[in-house]
Symmetry: C2
């Protein structure tokens, strides 16, 4: 502790080295042995923390010791290669370096003027991603569109819905409040964030129509068309559709082309949420997922899910940036500056809900430069292949069945023995700590989900997962094998 209470630079260097060693040891060794899902009970971690805040400072050694002793048992290891739950939030060393640099620079990117490089690098790497994924050119910043990093797809969906709301009401909603019966649409399988956004934006959750899906859990355009017609007939104002490319439940891919055609015809804003699956488009052979995307007004996917970029990093695009900015812009005197007034710059504050923003483009830039397109393709193909291998095992085992198509890296499956057995199976597997997977309900049936996307998941981990699943299934129901 230096005299002025700051950590002196030499102490920081030493502690940073200790922490880097800790991180490497954690990711390369410990995470393989720790139970993937934390095994603690509610309140257990907190009960080990001292009630009173420290009056005097503690040495860093004591803090790092408490990380091990107190916090680590309460960590569910998203970076474990045996993590197959939810969608991944994968990460990588280059991204960690990017986060470190962002923390070291400590700049604010709310305006171009508050750090031009923070804004310009972000615009640039988001244009790169348009090329890398072969997204429609209308999302490039060099035209009327452009990209921005949001914290999450939830926030991207909210921003899309707000831009759509304002476009549909000639900015009257922003100014006067929501004054007409607006109606939004998504499939019954869409992410809960669409419903949350409808609530937040003053549209009302009741005015989000959850459109029926087909046997593959993809939105039915005929049902969407019928619903829109019915709403119009009832004097309501349809304005927004959220299509999903890779639903959270089952990786279902809505028919964007058909939905987009309908949206054009009806004058509705089309947002496409490809939170996890969007990354697949780094490989030409998976670009079918984006068929029809040229009809979308906005689009998002999360490099923080499957592109080795630490959370938070959602890439959100609009085809007409002016409509987004009109919905979210506020310019108080204390933020006025020449660059903003020149109109020659992007102020990302007007592209998001919060004002302040970190330099998140750095980690994405580090990842893209480290891996190159080639490296990203290698790992995405690898993950899809592993999931497809798993799919064939499920198909070949009489005790199990697939519950949804598995177009990419998520396999939905269940034991044929019924919901209770599947619940028990999942709970035993997760309680063992050997792997972690989560569930959903499809057509009313409790379904297990296995998603392959963690950075260091290899075939051995997927092999073991299947072996464990089969073994535990036998333990639960020895008669059926």
């Amino acid at each position: 502790m230096s005299e002025d209470y700051h950590m002196d630079p030499e102490a920081f260097r030493r502690h940073a080295h200790e922490l880097i060693d800790w991180i490497i040891d954690y990711l390369e060794r410990r995470v393989d042995d720790l139970p993937v899902r934390s095994q603690v009970e509610p309140g257990e971690i907190r009960s080990r923390l001292p009630e009173d805040p420290p009056s005097k400072g503690d040495p860093f050694e004591a803090i790092l010791r408490d990380v091990d002793d107190i916090l680590l048992p309460g960590i569910t290891h998203w970076q474990s290669p045996d993590f197959f739950a939810y969608f991944p939030a994968n990460a990588s060393y280059p991204a960690i370096l990017g986060e470190m640099l962002s923390a070291g620079l400590g700049v604010q990117g709310m305006l171009w003027a508050t750090s031009p490089a923070c804004t310009e690098l972000e615009t640039h790497v988001l244009d790169w991603l348009v090329r890398i994924l072969d997204l429609p050119g209308r999302f490039l910043s060099t035209g009327t569109g452009g990209g921005v990093i949001q914290d999450s797809a939830s926030s991207a969906t909210l921003c899309a819905l707000l831009a759509a709301r304002e476009r549909a009401t000639d900015l009257e909603s922003n100014r006067r409040g929501v004054d007409r019966p607006l109606v939004a649409y998504a499939s019954s399988q869409a992410h809960s964030s669409v419903e949350k956004a409808a609530g937040i934006a003053g549209i009302g959750k009741e005015n989000l129509r959850l459109v029926d899906v087909d046997g593959s859990f993809a939105m039915r355009p005929d049902r969407l068309a019928a619903q829109i017609a019915e709403d119009r007939a009832n004097g309501r104002v349809p304005f927004f559709v959220c299509a999903t490319v890779g639903t959270t439940s089952s990786n279902a891919i809505d028919p964007v082309k058909e939905i987009g055609g309908l949206c054009r015809q009806e004058g509705l804003w089309l947002h496409v949420d490809a939170a996890m699956s969007g990354t697949a488009a780094v490989c030409p052979e998976y670009r079918f997922i984006h068929r029809g995307l040229e009809l979308a007004d906005s689009y998002c996917f999360n490099p923080h899910k499957w592109m080795f970029t630490n959370f938070d990093c959602d890439a959100f695009y609009v085809a007409d940036r002016a409509s987004l900015i009109r919905a979210l812009s506020i310019l108080p005197e204390y933020l006025r500056n020449r660059a903003t007034e020149s109109g020659a710059v992007i102020d990302y504050r007007d592209w998001q809900v919060p004002l302040g923003r970190r330099f998140r483009a750095l980690k994405l830039w580090f990842v893209l430069r480290h891996y190159g397109i080639e490296g990203l393709q290698h790992h995405v193909r690898r993950h899809v292949d592993l999931a497809q291998q798993f799919r064939t095992w499920v198909e070949a085992d009489d005790r199990f069945e697939l519950t949804a198509p598995a177009p990419l890296n998520l396999v939905c499956f269940r034991h044929r023995g019924g919901d209770d057995i599947n619940r028990e199976l999942m709970e035993r597997l997760n309680a063992s700590g050997d792997l972690y997977l989560t569930h959903t309900v499809l057509d009313g049936a409790f379904t297990l989900r296995l998603c392959v996307g963690q950075t260091r998941t290899e075939s051995t981990h997927v092999d073991s997962a299947w072996e464990r699943i089969r073994t535990v299934a036998t333990e639960i129901d020895p008669g059926m094998r």
Copy 2:
């Protein structure tokens, strides 16, 4: 580059060490010499970046070289001790270590179950902050309240407004949309985020009343009362007041006690935004800023502004967490889990707009443990003293005048020669790169703002700033000295 395209652990260790050296060299040496405000023109940074994304990976050395050569000229140095602009976004070595660990663990804190320690440490350190700042006990998680980390005060204000909206409409707004003429209130000096939140939430910016202020730029409770009465008389539904403790323009402190009394009487939700100034309450002598806070329904301040904790870290409190959760909760099947259903845990997803969340409590915990209350008090006192010293210099110089009271660490002042001279003065100072300050307009007059809060700002930096201001003022207007 290892065979599988990942960065191997030894390479990561080496590059992390290089980067730590880079950060230390940046913060200890280079940042003192670099122009505080970036001097680049719009598009300049981007023009140096290659148009095409990399097909093959680049070595880290090349990336770090580009940070120096391409990005650094485009950085406005928020961590410079000569940064007096806006509000600070100060940072510290312990916070950087916290960010590193958060990146290394790479966990998601959306649910308690997705990493119990992430949730429980957050709840715990936010309770610590209640004690450290001597905030009202109703914000403690051990009662009916509790705290959560938001990315920014903008998001906190939005969440407060949404909780208030739902309380005022019995959750009808969430369900059916905003269906009655709700009215919100803040002073004419309140942060632009209140207006932005009113737009987002479907209330309408027109339905945010900007209440008149007194000579100190603080909200006039009599005017607030009159406005509420007028709105009620016109059939409108007042529901929300945002009071500010330390406005962005001039650090004005609204009379929370009087406003709170009125809100109680009228049944309105009171949110108190103390984004920067809240930190001052670590020192008992500055706790006057929170007088009346026990009447607030919600409160926020930003450790990422003045408490040495890297952005993003806004501490947001509610007295009745149930009302916040009711406004923001969504529970799809794929997120269901036993812990959530037991009701024994906090799922912070229901306390914020996005779903996903980083482990941000770590950096705050590192800061509180490293500095202790004593260390925080030392630096806050130091910053306030430096600002007050600056204030006396302004008062003693005939050419300058104060334009607002300076209760803490922000001094608003202007040259008596008129707006053009002040504009010219600011532009020359900022263009010189020697220091960075920004402006506001108070009572119609262009006003300079000098805010002392950067981690490493010492008396020499404030001395130099004043010396530079006087010198440049003389250059502009040699007659007047």
